[in-house]
C-alpha cells in the first residue's frame, strides 16, 4: 500500500480507462479526490471555458450577427429610398394627367397614399412585356397577400400601373382588353403622344415611338423595362429589373412597405 501511494494518480488514470469499479473498492483515497483530479485536469486542459460559456458566447454572437445584418439591410433600403428622394422635385416620376383603360382621367394625385408599381410597355409587344406583366400579376398577389398591406388599414393595397409607350395604337379600349388577361387590378394609362413622351421623360424611360403613325400600322417600340416602385408620397423608391423573380420582387417591395412609417 505504501509503495502504491506515490503513483496513485497514474494508477487511477489507467484504471479509469479500463473501468474503475474494482480499484475504487480497494483504493485508500476517497473517490472524491479522484474526481477532483479529473476535474482539475479537464479544467487545466480547457482553461476557464465550459460548454455553457461556449454556448452563451456562440448564441450571443449569432444574435449580434443577426441583428447587425438586419440593421445593415434596413439601412441599405433606407439609403436606396432616401437617395431616390430628391430635394424638392423628385428625380423620377412627377405630375401627369392621363386616361385609364375605362376612359377616366387618372393623375399623379391618384397614386398618393399607397405604394404603386409602375411599368411601361405596349400591347403589341412580342414577348417581354407579356412575360413581365405575368410577373407583375404574381407580384401583386404576393405583395397584397402580406399582412403588412391587408391587415393594417394604414396602407391600402399596391397600385399597379401599366403606362403605354405606344399611345397611337393603345387606346383605352385596347388596353382594357389587353390588361384583362393579366390582372384585374392593373390600371392601364394612355394619352396623347406629347403626354406619353412627357411622362416617359419624367420616369427616365427611353422613348422611341414615332409620331403620327397610322392606325393598324405594324411596328415595334423600344422602351426601358423596369418596374418602378413609388412610395405613398409619389416619390421613386427603387427600380426592379428583369433579373428579379416575382418572389424576389415581392420581397423587395414588402421590405420597403415595412419600413414605411408616417
Amino acid at each position: 500500500m505504501t509503495s502504491n501511494t506515490a503513483p496513485r494518480s497514474q494508477q487511477c488514470l489507467r484504471s479509469a480507462s479500463k473501468g474503475s469499479q474494482p480499484v475504487r473498492q480497494f483504493g485508500s483515497s476517497p473517490p472524491k479526490a479522484y474526481k477532483t483530479v479529473q476535474e482539475q485536469r479537464s479544467r487545466y486542459r480547457s482553461g476557464p471555458f465550459s460548454w455553457k460559456a461556449g454556448l452563451l458566447f456562440l448564441s450571443s454572437g449569432a444574435a449580434l450577427i443577426f441583428y447587425f445584418r438586419y440593421e445593415k439591410a434596413r439601412m441599405e433600403r433606407k439609403r436606396v429610398a432616401e437617395a431616390a428622394k430628391g430635394v424638392g422635385r423628385p428625380k423620377v416620376g412627377g405630375p401627369f394627367r392621363l386616361l385609364d383603360q375605362y376612359g377616366k382621367e387618372f393623375t399623379d394625385g391618384d397614386m398618393k397614399g399607397r405604394y404603386s408599381l409602375v411599368y411601361f410597355g405596349f400591347s403589341h409587344c412580342p414577348d417581354i412585356c407579356p412575360e413581365e406583366l405575368d410577373k407583375m400579376a404574381q407580384m401583386i398577389d404576393l405583395v397584397n397577400a402580406s399582412p403588412l398591406l391587408s391587415a393594417s388599414s394604414s396602407l391600402p393595397p399596391l397600385l399597379p400601373l401599366f403606362i403605354t409607350c405606344d399611345p397611337a395604337r393603345d387606346t383605352p379600349g385596347v388596353l382594357q382588353t389587353y390588361l384583362s388577361e393579366f390582372h384585374p387590378a392593373i390600371i392601364g394609362l394612355t394619352g396623347t403622344w406629347e403626354q406619353i413622351k412627357d411622362i416617359c421623360k419624367k420616369y427616365r424611360v427611353y422613348f422611341s415611338t414615332p409620331e403620327g403613325v397610322q392606325k393598324g400600322q405594324d411596328y415595334l417600340v423600344d422602351h426601358s423595362i423596369y418596374f418602378y416602385l413609388m412610395d405613398p408620397e409619389g416619390d421613386f423608391v427603387e427600380a426592379i429589373g428583369r433579373q428579379h423573380s416575382p418572389e424576389d420582387a415581392a420581397k423587395i417591395i414588402l421590405a420597403h412597405v415595412g419600413d414605411w412609417k408616417r
Binding site: G103, P126, T177, G216, G241, Q243
Partner: protein
C-alpha cells in the same frame, strides 16, 4: 419557294376594340406565334442556320413550311424582331463561351437587365 408560295402569309386581321382601334394579339395568339417561332427556329437549328435574314435563300429552301407557319401566326414586325433576337442571342452565347474558354471567371449574381433601348 415555288410559284405558289408567293401568297403573303400574315396573321388574321386583328379584332377591333370598343373605341375602334385594332386590339393586340391576345394570350392564345401570342402562344401560337411563339410555338410556330420555336418550330421555325428548330428547323433552322437542324440546318445550321443562325441568321435567317442574311441567309434568306438557304432558310427558305430548308424551312419553307415552318417559315410560312411562323409568318402566318405572327405580325411581320414580330417575325423580324424574333429573327434578329435569335442572332443576337447566338452571338451573346458565343461571346460568353469564348470568354469562358479564355478563363474568364463568372461573377456571382446575374448579369443586369438589358439597358434602356433594349427591344421589349
Amino acid at each position: 419557294m415555288g410559284l405558289f408560295s408567293s401568297s403573303p402569309a400574315s396573321p388574321p386581321p386583328p379584332k377591333i376594340s370598343s373605341d375602334g382601334a385594332p386590339i393586340a394579339p391576345d394570350r392564345t395568339q401570342r402562344a401560337k406565334c411563339w410555338e410556330s417561332r420555336d418550330a421555325y427556329f428548330g428547323c433552322l437549328d437542324r440546318n445550321n442556320i443562325v441568321d435567317s435574314i442574311t441567309e434568306k435563300d438557304k432558310a427558305e429552301k430548308a424551312c419553307s413550311v415552318e417559315g410560312r407557319g411562323f409568318e402566318s401566326n405572327c405580325a411581320s414586325s414580330w417575325v423580324t424582331y424574333f429573327k434578329k433576337r435569335r442572332v443576337m442571342e447566338y452571338q451573346r452565347n458565343k461571346t460568353l463561351e469564348r470568354l469562358k474558354a479564355e478563363g474568364a471567371q463568372e461573377m456571382p449574381g446575374q448579369i443586369g437587365p438589358p439597358g434602356p433601348g433594349q427591344r421589349p
